[in-house]
């Protein structure tokens, strides 16, 4: 009886999850073995692992992978460090009103659409209306091709993303810092420990689990969900300099309609997700195993 109730309550969720995730996985693996281009051949033709061979031999794939990984590592590192420093400073304020206002302000960029984030990127970096170029023009009489130079474009995207998601770390870190017991902190003050020593020997050790979980969550999201900001700011360009995996799957599937290739990319990125999951379970092994 009791067991049936549980299954009954979970049934709608199970059905939706099967439809939303398990069916797509089979779809991706199935069509990855076919030549299937909606423009040239409406009927899929079985070609074995040819798609995999050509993806793994293409520089486009490894370029997109490198960009995605680089974006993830760089943006999460900046967001994490800035977030920690900011929340350390904020925790010193000891004024609930100021802290409340700042927390509310932190929710602002975090909850805005990635498209609005991309627009803001345009208004900061674009050559004609961008405020950053306007300032450098005024001060040094130089302009930078932020979005059209292949080495600068990805950094511009990372900058905007750092702006948007540092508040995520501030909110998490701040609530963790404020929950540190006061007694050891006071004891360290009495013993004459400096602020840096307090951070090094008390706050950081206490925060390690929070650091781990927040960077992993943010890292997974950055890796799997980067799309809108690149689409709006550079469209993957110049050339393929800021091409990332989700954007390329989108283009392969819905711009050139090469579904065989798009599903092969999908199947390969699925393997990355398995690696992520294994790593995550290993880190939380006490809870899951």
């Amino acid at each position: 009886m009791k067991k049936r109730t549980g299954i009954l309550m979970t049934m709608p969720a199970i059905a939706l999850i099967l439809f939303l995730f398990v069916y797509p996985l089979f779809f991706n693996f199935y069509y990855s073995f076919f030549f299937y281009n909606l423009y040239t051949s409406p009927e899929p033709i079985f070609i074995g692992i040819t798609n995999y061979v050509s993806v793994l031999n293409s520089s486009i794939f490894f370029n997109a992978l490198r960009n995605t990984v680089f974006f993830t590592l760089a943006s999460v590192t900046f967001e994490f460090m800035l977030g920690f420093i900011l929340s350390l400073l904020l925790s010193k304020l000891r004024s609930n009103i100021i802290m409340g206002i700042i927390s509310a302000l932190c929710l602002l960029p975090w909850s805005m659409s990635e498209v609005v984030e991309g627009i803001i990127g345009q208004f900061l970096f674009s050559p004609r209306v961008g405020v950053i170029n306007a300032i450098t023009r005024l001060l040094f009489n130089v302009e930078f091709p932020w979005l059209t130079d292949s080495s600068l474009a990805l950094w511009s995207i990372i900058f905007v993303d750092t702006w948007k998601l540092t508040p995520f770390f501030v909110l998490i870190d701040l609530s963790a810092i404020l929950s540190i017991p006061r007694d050891p902190m006071d004891a360290m003050n009495v013993d004459g420990a400096s602020q840096l020593q307090q951070i090094r020997y008390l706050i950081i050790p206490y925060m390690l689990p929070v650091f781990a979980i927040s960077t992993i969550i943010r890292g997974i999201d950055a890796f799997t969900r980067i799309f809108g900001i690149v689409y709006i700011m550079t469209g993957g360009g110049p050339g393929i300099a800021t091409d990332v995996i989700p954007l390329e799957i989108f283009n392969l599937g819905l711009r050139v309609f090469n579904w065989g290739m798009a599903t092969t990319w999908g199947a390969i990125t699925f393997l990355f997700s398995i690696i992520l999951l294994i790593g995550y379970i290993y880190m939380n092994r006490r809870q899951w195993l």
Binding site: A13, L89, F123, R128, I172, T269
Partner: protein, 267 residues
């Protein structure tokens, strides 16, 4: 002195955090010619860009479309996730842990790989160009997140009241309706807010499944950036306009949202 330094760094960082939004706001009330000529010159404020959103870019239809999609996503996510979360935490069955693991895994999948299967499925049903592929795309973001959060919320909920009601002879569904759901209300509120935000802001699925007649806000905004010309003024005003509901929600629920950050978010 040390305090002064702290405040200065803090003020500087806050300035960096806020200035892009302020800049967007300034541009949205600036005449188009002034935007392009010199971004830093003074100007006469105007509301023309906000009016053109509705006159030229059909933001009335767009807003309605997005609102309908967000409401349907909410109407599916909340009952399904709260039922599942309660069931999983109170009546674990064989494979319930495996199911939770599967949901966790769903959060780690690249969402772009869901586009083509959904496209194929809804084309076969003849629903291509309807809101349904977008709705299900959004559900793939909101549902795993909602179940995970509400499940950990349920785990921390006291069981005594449910047990007392069980002794009094209330049925399991009665307990769920009269006792568990009211206790879960704060968690469900947070889920509701995050779900609304996600659907309102989502771009990947909206861009994949939109047509010339069916556009959500983010897609309408992105279509202002054409290959050769960008309508800068309307672009800025649309960014502000689209963020207004989100800002209101963030102000209304900021305490609950921030508290939710302290919950164990992901299992």
């Amino acid at each position: 002195m040390k305090n002064f330094l702290n405040y200065t760094i803090l003020a500087l960082l806050l300035f960096i955090m806020l200035s892009p939004v302020v800049w967007l706001l300034v541009l949205s009330i600036k005449p188009e010619s002034a935007i392009v000529s010199d971004p830093l010159k003074p100007f006469n404020p105007t509301l023309e860009h906000y009016l053109s959103l509705f006159k030229i870019y059909k933001f009335d239809t767009v807003t309605l479309t997005s609102a309908i999609i967000a409401l349907i996503v909410l109407a599916i996510t909340i009952p399904v996730s709260s039922l599942a979360a309660y069931g999983l935490s109170r009546f674990p069955f064989k494979g319930s842990k495996l199911f939770l693991l599967l949901i966790l895994f769903c959060r780690m999948i690249v969402p772009a790989i869901i586009i083509l299967p959904m496209y194929g499925f809804f084309s076969a049903l003849g629903l291509k160009g309807s809101i349904w592929p977008i709705v299900f795309g959004h559900l793939s973001w909101t549902l795993p997140f909602a179940i995970l959060i509400l499940q950990s919320f349920c785990e921390e909920m006291p069981k005594e009241m449910e047990e007392a009601a069980r002794l009094d002879g209330l049925s399991e569904w009665g307990i769920l309706w009269k006792i568990a759901f009211p206790l879960m209300a704060p968690g469900i509120t947070v889920i509701g807010v995050v779900t609304f935000n996600t659907s309102w802001n989502e771009f990947l699925f909206a861009a994949s499944f939109s047509t010339a007649y069916l556009k959500t806000g983010p897609v309408a905004i992105s279509s202002m950036i054409a290959e050769w010309t960008i309508a800068w003024g309307p672009l800025a005003s649309s960014g502000i306009y689209w963020s207004i509901p989100i800002i209101i929600v963030a102000i209304l629920f900021n305490r609950r949202l921030i508290r939710a950050f302290t919950l164990r978010y992901y299992g």
